[in-house]
């Protein structure tokens, strides 16, 4: 039995995604920049994806720029914008719970002399529009807030933030890291006043190594990847036809069944949350209000059990989860998000993230709860004295 509850780290490809990736690798293998038919054929896949994405977001096709994934999109959005508008000002606002693709890029900008304000969050991981507004200064050029937190699922009020910051200072560029939100929410950059938005393919049953940055046509970040001038010179490099084609198919499928998907994931989440609440020594993290939390992420600490040990014990039963966030496993320091919401060291050391997809079933959640009921007492018998 294989129960994959680590969908916030990555997801299994849809068969349709894999099919089109194969098709573009084996038959439509042309370079979209080529003048001949093979080039035109390949280009049609790119155009198709642009059409699908533009339709989902209700934006223009030319506002979609493909990248190598979420990290590149985040890096480009922040660095490209900061550099483009530095004469206007050098102040940037962000939050304490951002993904490292954002926080590391901001750290780099800070080293280059930009002034970065990091806003704290409350116990549930929220930053408020008021907080962001009161941090705005005359020289603020960029605000970056994630939509769904990758570790605890907090749904940040990005629409409200976009609305209010632009009312105060219309020329601020607002970037949203929507890597965890895209495919799970209907996001409308126009009405939410989002100028830049990062998305990754492999979080939505698409291929790894592809993503995109939505760039509002009035915003002009400087390109970071230079070369043959592809994508209007904004992001050079031969188009990743298989990746982009797969991304389009995956996004299309996700949005065609968004409501059913959300309902089934929410049911799984609630079932797990309820089961965990009934166990001794389990602390749930993240928002209590289900409307303000992603339906597919649940983070909990299991008192007295180190997360790595529980992770491997669950693995033994074929259940795959994450300790904190998969992206933090390469570092020794604890999760920045859990630190920001005020978790104790003990809570951080014992935190496990369960994340679901539409493919997750309630039967799997039942099996997981049962496994936890067996494993936890055994592991707690052997704890460091």
């Amino acid at each position: 039995m294989e129960i994959y509850l680590d969908n916030a780290a990555t997801t299994a490809c849809y068969t349709e995604t894999a099919d089109i990736v194969r098709e573009t690798m084996l038959s439509a293998y042309g370079n979209p920049s080529s003048m001949h038919h093979k080039g035109v054929e390949a280009e049609s896949y790119i155009r198709n994806t642009a059409r699908v994405l533009a339709d989902i977001l209700k934006v223009k096709e030319k506002e979609i720029f493909y990248t190598s994934g979420g990290t590149e999109a985040d890096n480009w959005a922040l660095t490209g914008t900061a550099l483009a508008y530095q004469r206007r000002g050098r102040h940037i606002i962000s939050t304490a719970v951002e993904h490292p693709a954002v926080s590391a890029a901001l750290g780099n900008l800070r080293e280059q002399g930009f002034d970065v304000t990091i806003l704290p969050v409350d116990r549930e991981g929220f930053v408020s529009a008021e907080q962001v507004c009161s941090a705005i200064r005359e020289d603020t050029v960029l605000v970056s807030v994630m939509m769904v937190n990758n570790e605890i699922g907090t749904l940040e009020p990005v629409g409200e933030i976009g609305e209010q910051i632009h009312r105060i200072k219309p020329d601020i560029v607002f970037h949203v890291d929507a890597v965890q939100a895209f495919g799970k929410y209907r996001i409308r950059p126009r009405t939410m006043k989002i100028d830049l938005m990062s998305v990754s393919g492999h979080k939505i049953h698409g291929p790894k190594g592809v993503g995109f940055l939505f760039v509002d046509e009035r915003v002009h970040p400087v390109p970071l990847i230079l070369g043959g001038g592809q994508q209007k010179g904004m992001r050079s490099g031969t188009d990743n036809v298989p990746g982009v084609a797969g991304l389009g198919v995956a996004a299309g499928k996700m949005y065609s069944r968004l409501e059913e998907n959300t309902a089934s994931m929410r049911a799984c989440r609630e079932m797990l949350a309820e089961g965990l609440a009934g166990m001794e020594g389990v602390i749930l993290h993240g928002p209590a209000d289900p409307e303000r939390t992603a339906p597919y992420i649940l983070n909990a600490s299991f008192t007295g059990v180190r997360s790595e040990v529980l992770l491997h014990a669950l693995e033994d039963k074929g259940i795959y989860v994450s300790s904190g966030s998969a992206c933090s496993t390469h570092k020794k320091s604890g999760s920045p998000t859990l630190t920001a919401i005020g978790c104790t060291e003990k809570e951080k050391e014992s935190a496990i993230r369960f994340s679901f997809s539409e493919m997750t079933t309630e039967e799997e959640i039942g099996y997981t709860l049962q496994a936890l009921r067996e494993i936890l007492p055994m592991l707690r018998r052997f704890i460091r004295k």
Binding site: V309, L311, H312, D316, F382, R384, K385
Partner: protein
């Protein structure tokens, strides 16, 4: 002029009648080390010397890197080989060799050290010294002669061909692996044990290793890390059979039955017992650990007495008098440090007591162990028979 390498070895020379055996081992390891280096190589043993002759194009730095991993080599001399015996040609080639070897033209002193073993050659050693010295002086005005303490000692050997060499790049020293039997290394994911394995292997000892893992308390990546470490050590030692033992049940049994402060000592005694079982099976004549006196509670002299007491084979502890920093320096040199510091927990650290005994008394430890009963023997047998063996060969 073609390029070759003269291999110098130190201790083999003093091994009397066994000398041939040691040399053959060394040639075997040189051939092995060059297996994956770009190029084709002929390794020859003549007149008590080992040469590596590249055939056609080859990766020069790759050869040096590979040879620097072969125990028994004390020095590697890049050699210019001249087939044409004409003296005018030799002069030209000698000057070219000096210019190529020392291209920076900084002022230095030199001496020519010619040896004519080919009696048919028209000039004797003294004449060669003088004439070649003159040619070099004339062509390289930045060089001066100093026959007592030269910066550069250019050796010219006249045999069937003529060999020129000036530089000697240090090798790792030691003795060819396999010339001194084999031993079983207790390999953890830490910094010390790979270094200990390296040091014993350097004395010509072939290595096998045993690693204890404790799923789910230690991860698959911790295991991979140890395989990687073994692989890095095997760049020097040659093939290692790594036995991976599942230690969880034994560890939990000790945890439940024995005093917590004694857990680490008792656990280590079981590790030694199991390692010895593998040693006997593989024909190893000793155990190797990375212990260093007083480094941690389980490595005080009293603790070592307790862990040592379960072994009948000798336990080699090459790092016993090393400071941590010395070990780290060596780990960096042999390329294991980077892997060793990856943050995966190993089975020694999971259940450590806050205050483990630092001065255990053997009788007390033995009495505590009695509480484990017969069941533990079954567990040990099971751990040994269920072990997974991975063969690594880092070249």
């Amino acid at each position: 002029m073609t390029k070759a390498f003269l291999i110098k070895y130190a201790e083999i020379g003093i091994k009397g009648k066994n000398r041939h055996y040691f040399e053959d081992r060394l040639v075997h390891h040189i051939v092995r080390s060059l297996r994956d280096v770009e190029g084709r190589f002929e390794v020859t043993k003549e007149y008590g010397r080992i040469y590596v002759f590249p055939q056609g194009d080859f990766d020069y730095n790759g050869v040096l890197e590979a040879l620097q991993c072969v125990f028994g080599i004390s020095g590697i001399c890049p050699v210019g080989v001249i087939e044409d015996m004409d003296f005018e040609n030799l002069k030209e080639e000698t000057v070219r060799f000096m210019k190529e070897t020392y291209p920076d033209e900084t002022p230095r002193t030199f001496k020519v050290n010619a040896r004519r073993s080919n009696r048919k050659y028209p000039k004797d050693s003294m004449q060669l010294n003088a004439d070649l010295g003159e040619a070099i002086l004339y062509a390289c005005p930045w060089l001066k002669v100093n026959v007592h303490e030269p910066d550069i000692l250019l050796t010219v050997e006249v045999r069937a061909s003529i060999y020129l060499y000036a530089e000697e790049i240090p090798g790792p020293g030691g003795m060819p692996v396999g010339s001194n039997g084999s031993a079983m290394l207790l390999l953890s994911g830490g910094i010390d044990s790979p270094v200990a394995g390296y040091m014993v292997s350097k004395r010509g000892v072939q290595l096998d290793a045993v690693y204890f893992h404790a799923p789910p308390y230690t991860s698959e990546r911790a295991k991979q890390k140890v395989v990687d470490l073994a692989k890095q050590v095997s760049k020097y030692s040659g093939q290692i059979r790594l036995h991976i033992v599942n230690f969880t049940d034994i560890q939990l049994e000790i945890y439940e039955k024995c005093p917590h402060e004694e857990l680490t000592i008792i656990m280590r005694r079981y590790m030694m017992r199991i390692a010895e079982m593998f040693a006997e099976r593989d024909g190893s004549k000793g155990l190797i650990t990375g212990e260093s006196i007083g480094q941690v509670a389980s490595q005080t002299i009293d603790s070592l007495v307790c862990t040592n007491a379960v072994c009948t084979l000798p336990v080699f502890r090459p790092l016993i008098g090393f400071d941590k920093q010395d070990i780290v320096t060596l780990a960096e040199k042999i390329g294991t440090y980077e892997t060793s510091i990856l943050p995966f927990e190993d089975c020694c650290t999971i259940f450590v007591a806050k205050h483990p005994v630092t001065h255990p008394i053997l009788e007390i430890i033995e009495r505590s162990e009695k509480k484990l009963g017969d069941k533990i023997e079954e567990m040990v047998q099971e751990a040994v028979s269920g072990a997974e063996t991975v063969v690594v060969d880092g070249v």
